[in-house]
Amino acid sequence: MFFQQLVNGLTIGGVYALIALGYTMVYGIIELINFAHGEIYMIGAYAGIIAIAAAQTLIAGGIPPIAAVALALLAAMLVCAAYGFTMEKLAYRPLRHAPRLSPLISALGVSIFLQNFIMIAQGTRDKVFPHLFENTVAFDLGSVRVSLIQIAIIVGCFMMMALLHLVIQHTKIGTAMRATAQDKTAAALCGIHVDHVISVTFMIGSLLAGAAGVMIAMYYGLVNYSIGYLAGIKAFTAAVLGGIGNIPGAMIGGMILGLLESFGAGYISPEYKDVIAFSILILVLLIKPSGLLGENLAEKA
């Protein structure tokens, strides 16, 4: 039971962490809760399914499972990056200097738009992610069953997070992102194209969310147009838990939230797993409002 919930928690936690990264990166740079981020994740899941279906009809004889997964991930990441870019450009950039509430409402609008768009375009029924692998149980120890997909998700999440860490710490664009997050004006004075950096941030965040979408679609096998909402809130919870704006915080927060939720569902009651997640969030905020890794931010004047 314990190990089973541990593995389940790590799987779901990795996915939360990937989505939370997008929230936290965007928040770190423009201090916006991007409510539409959950929908990007949902769109990623749909894009993956559509890509596999298209490949299977276009290529005679079908494609090998590994290639199908790679294709789905690639398609989802590309589409989601494009969505992130467009979203920022159309809905958030004109509001860069508006009062705080305006971009937030705009983000809610984008979220409603995207969710209903997919509902209209793809219908209200659940979409099935194609069953790609025959034998999905990697090892079975009686009480603990770990599937190949779970291992792939956990490993994939850690790889992406490591990659993101490298990009942010060791590349030029990563340095620019960190500089912009610290002080936009000073970054602009140093010759950093701030608009460009913000666009790239949105694209990277959305790309991670798209990958998370494909992973979760593969894990559960079913996708619905409404999955973005709850996953989005959970991931935001994870970002806050770790300290919003803090990238390692989002990774740790996602893992912790996934584990807590999974143990909560296993030991207390599956119906109340959302309540458990939110109650823990509220408790953390009461005890340490800046999150686990966040520095103590004073209200900006």
Binding site: T86, I105, S106, L108, Q115, F236
Partner: protein, 386 residues
């Protein structure tokens, strides 16, 4: 606007830009459609992008000066005072006479407008005046509705004591949620209130012995006034709108008293307000209690109107809709709340024919509104004196 030549080339450039944007958007959105729908959807998309992109250009072509938002609040002069009084009287008359002109259906919509007006007025106290972003406002609405429903169906409590208890419970919930509010910054607050809203809804959905779960509670009694049962839509319409007027009057007095000024001071600069001797935390808490209680009142009325409630009616979407009413009307403006409620309740009713697309358009409209007129339709006018 310098010379016609420059303006023309800008027009051309912008047109190309629009076409490219439209094309890009089409590329983004279309892969998700079955091919048959693609043709149906493309013109709408193009029209929408054109509107968004061309707005600044049209404005500059028509030479409408960009509205300068003055930092100094506008003083209300005698003539505007009379004009606004006249408008108020006209609005009251219109609301009072409306049932005579409408049929059962329109009056029923009118009842819902009244209930949402209450909700918007309540949220306005929290978001518009105290500046606390609340994304789980539907929770108070649910608490009010469920308090009355449970007291009524299980303990046979009549409407009036049930309503009082419902309002008190929702106000107390506002107090409980308000306590953590005191120490949190804006965005954390948003997520805590959102989480609170979800917790309330999930608990109502799962705690079968308490709230009857997803099946909801049926056969809730209607209000009784002097042994006369107030039924929807016609008599209920008046009950709801009289309540709205009482709450409006109460809030209007509150806004003009030192309470209102204290809230505005806390919202605009908490540190300065504290330094001036305004107990910011106490006023924030008070805003949460009053806002929660008003939402509770709306919930009681809603439960009494439909006589059946279930957790479905109190989702996150509901909170967003109420927030949109406040923002659309103009944050901090009482008249704005009513106008926002009128628009956001009636528009979806008018758009029933293409119900699939209305939420899509609603989302797009939120974005456009924020870009075009972020201060809302009727932003509050602050008096200089007092």
């Amino acid at each position: 606007m310098t010379d016609s030549n420059g303006s023309n080339s800008r027009f051309l450039k912008s047109t190309v830009h629009v076409l490219l944007t439209g094309f890009g958007l089409a590329l983004l959105l279309l892969p998700f459609f079955p091919l048959s729908r693609v043709l149906l959807f493309t013109p709408w998309l193009l029209a929408l992008t054109t509107l968004v992109r061309l707005y600044p250009l049209i404005r500059s072509h028509l030479r409408i000066p960009k509205r300068v938002r003055s930092i100094v609040p506008r003083a209300s002069t005698g003539s505007t005072c009379i004009a606004s009084t006249g408008l108020g009287v006209a609005a009251i008359l219109a609301i009072a006479c409306f049932p005579a002109l409408g049929n059962r259906y329109t009056v029923d919509v009118g009842v819902m407008v009244g209930i949402y007006s209450l909700l918007a007025l309540g949220l306005n106290v929290i978001v518009g005046w105290a500046g606390l972003l609340n994304l789980g406002f539907a929770a108070f609405y649910a608490i009010g509705a469920y308090s009355y429903a449970i007291l009524n169906t299980r303990f046979d409590l009549p409407f009036w004591p049930g309503a009082v208890l419902g309002v008190l419970t929702a106000g107390f919930a506002g107090f409980l949620l308000g306590l953590p509010v005191l120490r949190l910054r804006g965005d954390y607050l948003a997520i805590v209130t959102l989480g609170f809203g979800e917790i309330v809804r999930v608990v109502l959905n799962n705690w079968d012995s308490f709230s009857n779960g997803p099946n909801g509670i049926m056969n809730i009694d209607r209000p009784v006034v002097f042994s006369y049962t107030v039924r929807p839509p016609y008599p209920f319409y008046y009950l709801v709108w009289i309540t709205v007027f009482i709450v409006y009057f109460f809030l209007n007095r509150l806004y003009k008293s030192h309470f209102g000024r204290a809230w505005i001071a806390v919202r605009d600069d908490e540190l300065a307000a504290n330094a001036m001797g305004i107990p910011a935390n106490r006023f924030k808490l008070l805003a949460c209690i009053i806002g929660g209680a008003i939402a509770g009142l709306a919930g009681v009325l809603y439960a009494a109107k439909v006589s059946f409630i279930s957790p479905e009616s109190f989702t996150f979407m509901e909170s967003v809709t109420i927030l949109c009413m406040v923002v659309l009307g103009g944050m901090g403006s009482l008249r704005g709340c009513i106008v926002g409620a009128v628009i956001l309740v009636t528009l979806p009713e008018l758009m029933r024919d293409f119900s699939n697309y209305r939420m899509l358009l609603f989302g797009a409209a939120m974005v456009v509104l924020m870009i075009v007129r972020p201060q809302g339709l009727l932003p509050p006018q602050r008096r200089l004196e007092a």
